[in-house]
């Protein structure tokens, strides 16, 4: 193993050189900071540092799990992300399949560019727009008032938050998300389509029986990775959108960590909750990977 790696490096030095910055990035920003999780077992005081702060064991974990908001946070985190997954995940795939069927190159390019655009706008701006749109005098309640809905600030209704959040997420991300599927689609052997055509398959049938199965491995890998991030997705947008009246449905683990840690100066408690979050994340990832391997032989490792 070691020998082959060295040999490999000798043979392709440039490739390894190119990979170097990425590896360094992972080490510096993802592995070295890991020792910081130690503070979740401490009463951490920044000025004293990790070495001199006092140890408290699992106290913060206990406080969190027995705390008032534990189950609500878990439920909200899982439900918001599951809804996002169920409705948000297929959209880029469908969009990519549709785009693939378009013959006019020009129209295709324009559509693609337009749908990418929201991805490049900062979340702060996007959320600012949403807040303005759903205000009691905003454009959406105004539009709804034609259907007999009394205008009110949509962000004050706990039951609407998830819909607003997920649909804005989809709107912002589907164009960008479709790129990888379009790349996979362009790699399909055109011969397959020709053969299907000869066999009498229409465009719909060939999309279902050729395009979709061909990009299935890509879909599965992305799905597994998405599940691995299930507990931490998009919380910046939640912070920008929510308000106390809808904490009930909008408060998730990450936003709770933010409030406790940064607003209350309670770093240890916050990182304990964060660590707990990551643990659940990892379990979900392992489960998803295992499931996918047993179902269709595609997996991360």
């Amino acid at each position: 193993m070691k020998k082959t790696l060295l040999l490999n490096i000798k043979r392709y030095p440039l490739l390894y050189l190119m990979a170097l910055p990425v590896i360094a990035w992972y080490i510096v920003f993802h592995y070295i900071p890991m020792y910081g999780v130690l503070i979740s077992f401490q009463d951490f005081v920044p000025a004293r540092g990790i070495l001199k702060s006092s140890w408290v064991g699992f106290e913060h974990f206990e406080n969190f799990i027995t705390g008032k908001y534990f189950w609500r946070l878990i439920y909200n985190t899982l439900s918001i992300n599951l809804i996002d997954l169920v409705f948000g995940f297929p959209v880029p795939i469908i969009f990519a399949l549709l785009l693939n069927e378009i013959k006019s190159e020009k129209f295709k390019k324009v559509t693609q560019t337009i749908t990418y655009l929201p991805h490049f706008i900062s979340s702060v701006v996007i959320c600012g727009l949403i807040i303005d749109f759903v205000k009691s005098r905003g454009i959406i309640p105004h539009f709804l008032s034609y259907f007999g809905v009394e205008p009110f600030n949509l962000l004050t209704a706990p039951e609407l938050f998830k819909i607003i959040f997920v649909s804005s997420n989809i709107w912002q991300g589907f164009g960008w998300g479709s790129i990888i599927y379009l790349a996979a689609l362009s790699g399909i052997d055109p011969g397959l389509y020709e053969a299907a055509k000869i066999d009498g398959a229409g465009r719909f049938k060939s999309a279902i029986y050729i395009s979709l199965p061909s990009i299935m491995p890509t879909i599965v890998i992305l799905l597994i990775m998405r599940i691995g991030r299930l507990m931490s997705l998009g919380w910046e947008n939640i912070i920008l959108l929510y308000n106390p009246n809808i904490y009930e449905t909008a408060d998730v683990i990450s936003t709770y960590v933010y409030r406790r840690g940064l607003e209350n100066f309670d770093f240890s408690f916050a990182s304990a909750v964060g660590l707990f979050n990551s643990l659940i994340n990892m379990i979900l990832l392992l489960l998803a990977n295992k499931l996918s391997r047993s179902l269709n032989d595609t997996s991360l490792w």
Binding site: D43, V45, P46, A47, R48, G49, N63, G67, K68, Y69, I131, K135, S136, R137, F152, N153, L155, T156, P158, N243, P244, N245, Y247, E248, R259, R260, L262, E263, N264, F265, D266, F267, F269
Partner: protein, 537 residues
């Protein structure tokens, strides 16, 4: 012979030099011990940089990236030889940035913040090695501060229970301001006249005015901003009418109470709920920042707004653009049962945010000297009135009194900026250690503004407010943070639910029970202990 003399001389020479050196050293030590240091400008020979953490106002942001661009600061830098490097939290920050700065370990030299959110307060921060105890330096190098504290009789208020000076660099208030109430509700006077209404003097009259406004097409009779807005907390604008606080502790007959669990709080909530349901209260208040609400009021769409005295001139100026008749008056602080309102935030003799010096500061002596410089009469004038030079003609002397020029007051400047904006660019509140009575008077020199000031001040006091000068111990504040974290979230959430009607007010007792289960009684006990120590000082 000559040689021998030379040799003897050569032997003696070093010891001679040594001796003279010694006597000089002794002299300078004696000087700094026995008398004030030699105050002279510039403070340093070589340009020295100090970093300075402070907030930048909303108006300031429109004209400057940091206070480095302030023309008065440039003058200060020229006089002292210092280069002051400012660090500001970003716009809309709720204190997170300050916590990040502290967590990073890269503290600015001077930090203008009360350190009230730090576990254990300033004493805790000194204990942890974030700050240094400036006491000895202040006594030695900032004698004018100590002198002023004595003159104003504030010795009890500038120190924590442990004796640390925690109010260094705050502002001594002139007679014109001290004891007055600078924040409250303002109402459109012209609208009152238009609909032939009397100025509201009681809660019922106030409600009636809002209703009439609504009937006559005023879109939002009462515009206020979100729950966390400091104006709510500091002024208890409507809560005080019911004798409770919006979200804070208060003192009744020497006993500490927590506002949100008192029976009066239920009345407060049901009043707000009524306003909300009748459309008298801004339906979007929960998502509105202060600036949003102010814009609505200035555009003439609203009837009542909560404001600070320093904002009124700007509000009047912009409001007149939307409606030439635009005029305001104070809504006095009434209470439901007619008793005096004692829950307001009156201006203390010593007010504002103190400064602390971090352990990163290389030269605390220099910083103490810098504050001595700020406490000089000339500097105070510079800070309050601006440079007053040819390039920055901020003031003139009329009949022996200083007066702001048209350059400051009436937009005759290259920026075409109004007075509040010019003040931000040419004077500065951060470097103010004592307000200039004359300047403060002129700042509010508008009959309408002065009337509002009187209207608020005459009807309110701060006797029941929990004193600002109480200092919890490290253990107390740690325990408080733990207890309060979840309570704060819960109260904030339930406040909105009660007001917007998603939870019925019949459940108020359950709500109080939940808060008690979360340990509020212990928190009140801790607050009481701090208060008792303060009163015994």
């Amino acid at each position: 012979m000559k040689k021998i003399v030379l040799i003897i001389f050569a032997i003696l020479l070093p010891s001679l030099i040594f001796a003279s050196n010694n006597s000089e050293k002794k002299q300078s030590v004696a000087k700094s011990k026995d008398q004030l240091w030699d105050y002279k400008l510039p403070l340093v020979e070589k340009e020295t940089t100090i970093t300075y953490y402070t907030t930048l106002s909303e108006i300031g942001r429109q004209y400057m990236k940091t206070l480095d661009e302030n023309y008065m600061i440039k003058e200060i830098e020229k006089q002292t030889g210092l280069n002051i490097d400012f660090v500001h939290p970003p716009a809309g920050d709720n204190g997170e940035y300050f916590n990040i700065v502290l967590a990073s370990g890269d503290y600015p030299d001077v930090i203008k913040d009360p350190f009230s959110r730090y576990p254990g307060g300033p004493d805790g921060a000194i204990n942890d090695g974030v700050l240094i105890d400036m006491g000895p330096y202040i006594e030695k190098y900032t004698p004018t501060f100590m002198k002023m504290v004595k003159e104003y009789g504030l010795e009890k208020k500038i120190r924590s229970d442990k004796g640390t000076i925690i109010k260094f660099g705050t502002i001594f208030m002139p007679p014109f301001l001290a004891g007055k109430t600078g924040r409250g509700l303002i109402i459109r006077k012209d609208l009152l006249e238009k609909f032939s209404l009397k100025s509201p003097k009681t809660l019922d009259e106030f409600t009636n005015v809002l209703r009439v406004f609504k009937q006559n097409g005023i879109e939002i009779p009462l515009v206020i901003s979100n729950y966390r807005d400091w104006m709510w907390n500091d002024t208890n604008i409507i809560a005080s009418a019911f004798g409770t606080t919006h979200k804070d502790y208060y003192v009744n007959d020497g006993k500490v109470n927590y506002g949100p669990i008192e029976p009066e709080y239920k009345e407060y909530l049901s009043y707000l709920k009524m306003l909300f349901e009748e459309g008298l209260l801004d339906p979007d208040f929960m998502t509105h920042q202060r600036g949003d609400s102010m814009k609505i009021f200035q555009s003439g769409k609203a009837g009542v707004f909560h404001a600070g005295i320093w904002e009124l001139r700007k509000i009047l100026e912009i409001g007149a653009g939307a409606d030439p008749d635009f005029d305001i008056e104070a809504v006095p602080f009434f209470t439901k049962d007619g008793s005096p309102c004692t829950l307001q935030n009156t201006i203390e003799h010593l007010s504002g945010t103190p400064v602390f010096v971090s352990s990163n500061a290389k030269d605390p002596v220099l910083i103490a000297k810098y504050f001595e410089y700020l406490h000089q009469k000339d500097t105070m004038q510079l800070v309050s009135w601006g440079p007053g030079t040819k390039e920055s003609p901020t003031y003139e002397i009329v009949d022996g009194k200083l007066k702001f020029t048209d350059f400051m007051q009436n937009g005759k400047n290259p920026f075409k900026a109004d007075f509040p904006s010019m003040r931000v660019m040419y004077t500065d509140a951060n470097m103010t250690v004592a307000y200039d009575n004359e300047m403060e008077k002129q700042q509010y020199d508008d009959e309408r503004v002065l009337k509002v000031f009187d209207g608020w001040s005459d009807s309110s006091g701060s006797e029941s407010k929990y004193p600002l000068f109480v200092t919890p111990t490290v253990e107390e504040s740690k325990e408080l943070v733990n207890i309060e974290a979840d309570i704060k979230t819960y109260v904030e959430e339930m406040f909105h639910k009660f007001v917007m009607g998603s939870v019925s007010l019949d459940d108020f007792d359950d709500y109080v029970k939940s808060i008690k289960n979360m340990g509020i009684d212990r928190a009140i006990e801790l607050k009481q202990a701090g208060l008792n120590r303060y009163l015994a000082r």
